[in-house]
């Protein structure tokens, strides 16, 4: 070997080469070690033959072959590696792996705790089928505090934030339970529907750690929510298959397992799955492409086409919108879907890339949704006095207005981006800053609606 400074720089070069190689998905650390041994021996032989360490390194790397070709060759041999790297990722180093294992154990325990918690009220005689209203109001309180706890632990949140999170959940518990609701009434159902929405923001604050103030932190939470939804649906489908096959085989020996499903498997599984799904999203976020943006890409053109067709038909035939009792809710749902499509394409878009055809489709989608909603609102406004202001209708109207404002301003920002007058980040900032509005409205529905409407 030549002078020590030379040797150090070769070590550095090898380290860089190693990390470069390690980034290839098909090449695992164990293969990198094998290739590194080869590289080092080659370098030694070349140095003995009279080359300097630097030259030897370059020659040895060249002889190893082009990285792309090599990684393609590895991928062909280990095609499985391009697929299943989700729950157990063997590519992690030892330390990371123990970290992942602790994580998995904590999640498993939390899921079990959630499953047990949902059954605790039964010990005090509050049964799922007899006291459904208790569960309607409180279901989010069985699982979201645990989920928040997981993120508090994972992100090592300070006590000051923790205090606010606890206060939020205590307040939620109070508002869900102190009001003298009419069992099975409107306001109770509204509380059950809106409390999770309000508390989801609390989960988000814990999820973002200290980054809730940043656009990126909130955007991450939006991505997380979308992926969680997809994972949850997948887990629910799997659970459905499990229950169906279990029901069939037990029926074949004359045992009816339906009561077990209803009182144990369904509630426990439903709350446990929230935590497991969250953990899966966390574990795989860098490994597998996000699904929500893929689905939005797929469905945005279809929704846009359907909405445009709807508007054209409406104008062509001159039919009025037949406003039934649930029309508001239907249009709310439409706006939510459109907002979701917008949100998840925004979340996956590279803010620096120039406007493209997809952006135009996106704008067409939002504009047509806004027009459809405006027509519906017009029809509803004309008949709102006739229908009367029930709590449901006021809540739905509020939501419609909130969504309308969000989408309308989004369109303005989007169009100015398309015309090159503003950056895409403005739209991102608008969307992420708007998140608390939904939570605030949900909180208002939970806190103010029951007393205002007399707990009906």
């Amino acid at each position: 070997m030549t002078d020590p400074g030379d040797a150090v720089s070769v070590e550095e070069q090898i380290a860089r080469w190693r990390s470069y190689l390690g980034r290839r998905q098909a090449i695992h650390p164990v293969d990198v070690a094998e290739l590194e041994d080869h590289l080092r021996e080659q370098i030694e032989v070349l140095v003995d033959a009279g080359l300097t360490a630097d030259e030897a390194f370059l020659v040895a790397v060249k002889r190893m072959g082009k990285l792309d070709a090599l990684s393609r060759e590895f991928a062909r041999e280990h095609s499985d590696r391009l697929w299943k790297q989700l729950v157990v990722s063997p590519s992690d180093t030892g330390e990371q792996q123990t970290g992942a294992r602790t994580d998995a154990i904590v999640v498993f325990c939390l899921a079990v705790v959630a499953a047990v918690l949902i059954k605790v009220p039964a010990l005090f005689g509050i049964d799922l089928d007899q006291d459904a209203s208790f569960y309607v109001r409180n279901v989010s309180l069985f699982v979201l505090p645990l989920l928040t706890g997981y993120f508090v632990w994972k992100r090592r949140l300070g006590t000051s934030t923790l205090r606010w999170l606890i206060v939020a959940f205590l307040a939620a518990g109070v508002f869900a339970n102190v009001y003298p609701f009419t069992p099975g009434g409107y306001t109770e159902a509204l509380t059950g529907l809106h409390l999770p929405i309000a508390l989801w923001l609390v989960v988000g604050i814990a999820y973002a750690g200290g980054r809730w103030g940043e656009v990126a932190g909130r955007m991450d939470f939006i991505r997380f929510s979308g992926e969680l939804f997809i994972y949850y649906v997948l887990i629910a489908l799997g659970g459905g298959v499990l229950m169906a096959s279990m029901g069939i085989i037990f029926r074949s020996i004359g045992i009816d397992v339906e009561p077990f499903f209803e009182s144990w498997m369904l509630p426990c599984g439903a709350v446990g799955a929230v935590i497991v799904a969250s953990w899966l999203v966390e574990a795989k976020q860098s490994v597998i492409e996000n699904m929500a943006p893929v689905l939005t890409r797929l469905f945005t053109p279809f929704f846009a086409a359907v909405l445009v067709a709807f508007l054209v038909t409406l104008l062509w035939t001159g039919r009025g919108v037949d406003i039934g009792r649930n029309a508001l809710i239907a249009f709310d749902l439409l706006l939510v879907v459109v907002l979701g499509l917008l949100l998840y394409s925004v979340s996956a878009r590279d803010p620096h890339s120039p406007p493209g055809a997809f952006d135009v489709v996106q704008v067409a989608l939002v504009v047509s949704a806004l027009l459809a909603d405006a027509i519906a609102l017009w029809a509803i406004a004309a008949r709102i006095t006739e229908f009367g202001f029930t709590p449901n209708r006021v809540a739905a109207l509020g939501e419609n207005v909130i969504l309308l404002v969000n989408l309308a301003w989004s369109v303005v920002l989007y169009i100015s981006f398309l015309r090159g007058r503003a950056s895409f980040t403005a739209l991102e900032r608008w969307q992420t800053n708007y998140l608390p509005v939904y939570a605030a409205w949900a909180a208002i529905v939970v806190i103010a609606f029951p007393p205002v409407f007399g707990y009906i």
Partner: protein
Amino acid sequence: MEINKDLMAASSTPIVLAILAEEDSYGYAILKRVRELSEGHMEWTDGMLYPVLHRLERFGHIEARWEVAESGRRRKYYRITPGGLAQLAEERRQWQAVDATLRGIWRAVSLFVPAGHLAPVAPLPRGFER
């Protein structure tokens, strides 16, 4: 002379298995042995040997173990398995058949042309053209 890629890929299995049948070995040493045996005609890109080794390992023809070499580095050694020996015998039969066929045709062709002018006269089968 350079040997074409398809031929190289097809011959890699019997060559690696045969070298491992001599004695247990590791990547760098296998490549060195290939170079010696072929007198420099077979130049594999170094990295490409490893996917071949991993494939043979997956088929169960060879097995791997990690050892600490004299240099103090951890090194992955490969050993041929009984299944690998059987595969080697099978490969050998096939290559001998190919070899015998080629020998026959070379002899017949060389009756008409001097060996040096072989290429332009005898049309090579697909996959063998240079």
